[in-house]
């Protein structure tokens, strides 16, 4: 649905986007991730035909953004970083105006306006002036205008910025429910958001692509060795942490067990296994066979946050050292083939 090849945007002084390539399959939700100034907004502006690329091509819904901008524009809904609202208009007035711009009319238009008002929870501010709405409500109106014409592709620049927690959840659900029929790209720097809503992540930093992959693969890739959190309790009140540690380290495949905390007779361990070894079953058996209680045993998945920092920092340090050997970084940008 979206094919981007070596897309580049140069400003007078900076290269905001530097040879980014990725593909998004139909019906997917993709998180566009990067620190401030990474070039997320710039990329989205090029995808929506607002800015022309300096080099490279972008193809949205089968049309090139430079050659057939009108066709592209018909098929996208775009929520810019600041919701594009006219403060002197009322909510429904505004939505009708946007709907007409997107070629809706008559009963169809009215139906869609009512529908998006319901979906984006703005029915209670239908007759209010947009200039007098709070930031969160403006954001919702912005989202409503993006989906008013039921576009194939949705491009959302920080859709949950400024919303309250309840509304963030509702917006995420809304976005998730829109996937399938719609292809969605959303930018954010809130990492849990990506973990919860997106199937695929594109991480960029300083205009360069750092990684594109599915959320799960990315976690697995960055994790390397699996680590497991274990909570062990003694049955008769006293438990010596070093004994437990010794026992855990004897389990085959375990490389290290670190005691994190001890509360009365409960001890908490973080157990690291060698790469590619599944040790959870053996750990549980070892604990139980030693006559202790196993209170908790869970894999400590590396959060996207850590992955993100790891990826963007390794990029930065590689750049700082600038040795030729580091040209091939461990996190080589890997182009993901579109599924199916």
């Amino acid at each position: 649905m979206i094919k981007v090849k070596e897309l580049t945007k140069r400003y007078a002084r900076t290269v905001a986007v530097d040879q980014i390539s990725f593909e998004v399959a139909k019906g997917q939700i993709v998180g566009f991730l990067g620190p401030n100034g990474a070039g997320k907004t710039t990329t989205m502006r090029m995808l929506t035909c607002f800015l022309p690329p300096s080099a490279g091509t972008a193809n949205v819904a089968g049309f090139d953004v430079l050659e057939q901008p009108l066709e592209v524009k018909k098929r996208i809904g775009y929520l810019p970083e600041t919701p594009p609202i006219y403060p002197e208009m009322e909510t429904t007035e505004y939505l009708k105006f946007v709907g007409k711009l997107k070629d809706l009319s008559g009963a169809d238009l009215q139906k869609r306006v009512d529908y998006v008002c319901g979906r984006c929870a703005i029915a209670d501010v239908k007759t209010r002036l947009l200039g007098k709405l709070s930031k969160g409500y403006r954001q919702r109106v912005g989202l409503a205008q993006a989906i008013i014409h039921n576009p194939d592709v949705l491009i959302l620049d920080e859709p949950t910025a400024g919303l309250d927690p309840k509304q963030i959840n509702e917006t995420r659900d809304l976005i998730k429910s829109l996937a399938g029929d719609h292809t969605i790209i959303l930018s954010t720097h809130i990492l849990p958001e990506v973990e919860q809503t997106c199937e695929q992540v594109i991480i960029i930093n300083k205009g360069k692509l750092v990684a594109t992959d599915s959320v799960r693969n990315l976690q697995a890739r960055a994790r390397g060795a699996e680590s497991v959190m274990v909570e062990v309790a003694g049955r008769n009140g006293n438990l010596e942490a070093p004994i437990v540690q010794h026992r855990l380290e004897q389990v085959s495949g375990v490389s290290r067990a670190v005691c994190k905390q001890q509360v009365d007779s409960r001890v908490f361990f973080e157990v690291e296994s060698q790469k590619g070894r599944l040790v959870r079953g053996d750990l549980a058996r070892a604990v139980v066979e030693a006559g202790w209680d196993l209170n908790e045993l869970r894999p400590a998945a590396m959060s996207l946050e850590e992955i993100f920092l790891q990826l963007t920092q390794s990029e930065a340090s590689a750049e700082a050292e600038k040795t030729p050997a580091q040209e091939s970084k461990p996190e080589q940008p890997k182009l993901q083939e579109s599924k199916s």
């Binding site: 502006r45 929506t48 035909c49 607002f50 800015l51 022309p52 009108l70 524009k73 018909k74 996208i76 775009y78 810019p80 970083e81 600041t82 594009p84 609202i85 006219y86 403060p87 002197e88 208009m89 007035e93 105006f97 946007v98 007409k100 711009l101 997107k102 070629d103 205008q145």
Partner: protein, 255 residues
């Protein structure tokens, strides 16, 4: 065409929902009203003097009231046009709504013409105020209506040209005040260029004087549709809108 109308309606809505339109209408109405009643008073006094001296010089409403007043309107308009056009694009750029327009399936030219048309309609509403005063003349006198209509046509053409220039200037900045001030400067310049013709007859002076928007209005004021003057205004409209389109395009390449 539908898109032009959508944009135009939205601009008119913005003008009339805010105090801008009413302020302009009121000010224009007051200023013109003052001119009008002054002209009438002078006319009446002159008429009485002539009667007392026993002369029966034919008094002509068209020549003595309508024509100078139309000339005045064409100058007063220069001061109002910047206030109409300054927000057209500058405001959209400042608030970011230009991103909505530029990513909607609608051509740049449709946006530009829509906005220009809305500005022209607002100006026409201001002219309508002046027409109310002239209606008074028709009630108590018997002026010829044709020169009046042609005069209004000239005013619209002149305003169209200046509004197109103002629209262009509005695309150059995010700041309404700057757009307004620059447009005002250009309007003023296009007026006073005419003065060059007063003391200089060289080719350059004639070119400059030719560029003055006010001189081209004179024929319309007299009630004559001059082909050259009409072409001048229409050319200016096209040039203004053309440069607006180029500016919008380069805006994207530059920003």
């Amino acid at each position: 065409m539908r898109n032009v109308w959508i944009i135009c309606r939205k601009e008119l809505y913005s003008y009339f929902v805010s105090p801008v339109a009413y302020l302009l209408l009121t000010m224009f109405g007051l200023i013109f009203g003052f001119f009008f009643w002054n002209a009438i008073a002078v006319f009446v006094v002159e008429g009485m003097e002539m009667q007392m001296r026993g002369q029966s010089f034919p008094m002509n409403l068209n020549e003595q009231i309508i024509r100078p007043l139309l000339q005045n309107v064409s100058v007063i308009g220069l001061f109002f046009i910047p206030m109409i056009t300054m927000r057209l694009f500058a405001e959209e750029k400042r608030t970011g709504t230009i991103e909505l327009l530029a990513t909607s399936p609608i051509r740049d030219l449709e946006i530009i013409v829509g906005k220009w048309l809305a500005a022209l309609i607002l100006y026409s509403c201001m002219l309508l105020f002046t027409a109310l005063n002239f209606a008074f003349l028709f009630k108590y006198g018997n002026p010829d209506w044709k020169p009046l209509v042609i005069g209004y046509l000239g005013l619209l053409l002149q305003a169209g040209a200046l509004l197109a220039i103002g629209t262009f200037i509005s695309t150059l900045t995010k700041n309404q005040i700057i757009a307004g001030a620059a447009t005002f400067g250009v309007c003023l310049l296009l007026w006073v260029l005419e003065w060059v013709g007063g003391y200089e007859t060289a080719a350059w002076a004639r070119v400059l004087a030719y560029l003055s928007v006010i001189t081209h209005f004179e024929s319309f004021g007299r009630g004559v549709i001059d082909f050259k003057d009409t072409v001048f205004y229409i050319t200016l409209i096209f040039l203004g809108l053309f440069f607006t389109a180029r500016s919008m395009e380069s805006l994207r390449w530059r920003s």
